[in-house]
Amino acid sequence: MAEETHDLAEPGPKDLSAGQAFWGGVQCGCGLPGVIMGASFLGFGSLVQSADHGLWVGLVSTATGWALPGQVVGIELHATGASLVTVGLAIFLANLRLLPLVLTLQPSLNQSCVHRWRHFVHAHLIAVTTWVISRRRFPELEPSARLPFFLGFGITLWHISLAGTAVGYALADLMPTPVTLGLVFLNPLYFSLLLIGDLVGRLRVLAIGLGAVTGPPLILMLGDWGLLLAGVAAGSLAVLLSRRPARTRASQAAGRG
């Protein structure tokens, strides 16, 4: 009875209820983003195992940190016997990249009136994948549907990360090297494609391009500080350059005059 399906008018993106938006986020999280996230945390789980820690160390780290670079730094620095102050500063530095992500996602998450303390809970779910995907999906979602989508998506990925950590821990000794290689490469490959998909508009193209070019040399010279410097410098330069056409036209006009 294919004819009957026209009665079930497909709800446009604007008609989503909060529950539908939440489940939309869950579904999105169970797709490719979840696969990538799970694979990345498989790698972290096996790192925890090879550092001779218990499974709980990995699970607590993933649950409370949920930002892979900082988690890896924590496990590795602990192995070298670094002081707690060093560990704290290194992790703070490694995760400072989350700050601009939270700053730019928070306003669109909490447009509707919610208790302020909840903003601090939502922020824990902001990470690279949730940021990129949310920014991409938000324009097609009604403002009231954005937070439920984000929560469905973020909570799903958070659980997948925990499962990935546990499975990676259990399989640490069993995984053949090519599989491990593939799992580890999945993350940069996926993020590259996400960023390439976001190459829209002069400002973003410049910011992404300049960041990719200035990042590696600055990181080689200055480590994590180099990463932050590359972000701020390339981002600022992108803003300045993306305004150039107006100024060029103005100076051309001035030249003619």
Binding site: G43, L47, D52, G54, V57, T64, G65, G70, H78, L84, G88, I91, N95, R97, L98, L99, P100, L101, V102, L103, T104, F120, A123, I126, V128, P178, T180, L181, G182, V184, F185, L186, P188, L189, Y190, F191, S192, L193, L195, I196, G197, D198, L203, R204, A207, I208, G209, G211, A212, T214, G215, P216, L218, L220, A230, G231, V232, G235, S236, V239
Partner: protein, 113 residues
């Protein structure tokens, strides 16, 4: 198996990580989403992510160090090519990239970088 020290690392690490997010919430209240400041921070966010990804591909730490730079770049190029050939199918692109990396690593071997 664990000395108590690692739990302090987890506590300090968790607090340090959450501090970056909480700072974002506190500061975001003073940020106008339509303002120039917002565009600037957004550009910094994209530049930071691009720098991070470039680092992971060009200067990897850990297992990926065993692969050659040329292999990683070829794998990324294969992924990007498939991405655009398949009307931006990320899944197909990711598979193409992984197959390329695995194939090249098997051919070249980890020693020949």
């Amino acid at each position: 198996m664990d000395d108590g020290g690692v739990w302090w690392v987890l506590l300090v690490g968790g607090l340090a990580t959450y501090a970056t997010r909480a700072l974002g919430v506190v500061l975001s209240n003073r940020l106008d989403p339509d303002g120039a400041m917002f565009d600037w921070i957004s550009a910094i966010a994209y530049a930071l992510l691009a720098a991070l990804v470039a680092r992971m591909i060009l200067l990897p730490v850990g297992v990926l160090e065993a692969t050659g730079l040329a292999e990683r770049i070829a794998a990324l190029a294969a992924g990007v090519m498939v991405y655009f050939r398949t009307h931006r199918n990320v899944l197909a692109a990711v598979v193409a990239g992984l197959v390329t990396l695995a194939g090249l690593s098997a051919l070249v071997g980890p020693e020949a970088m």
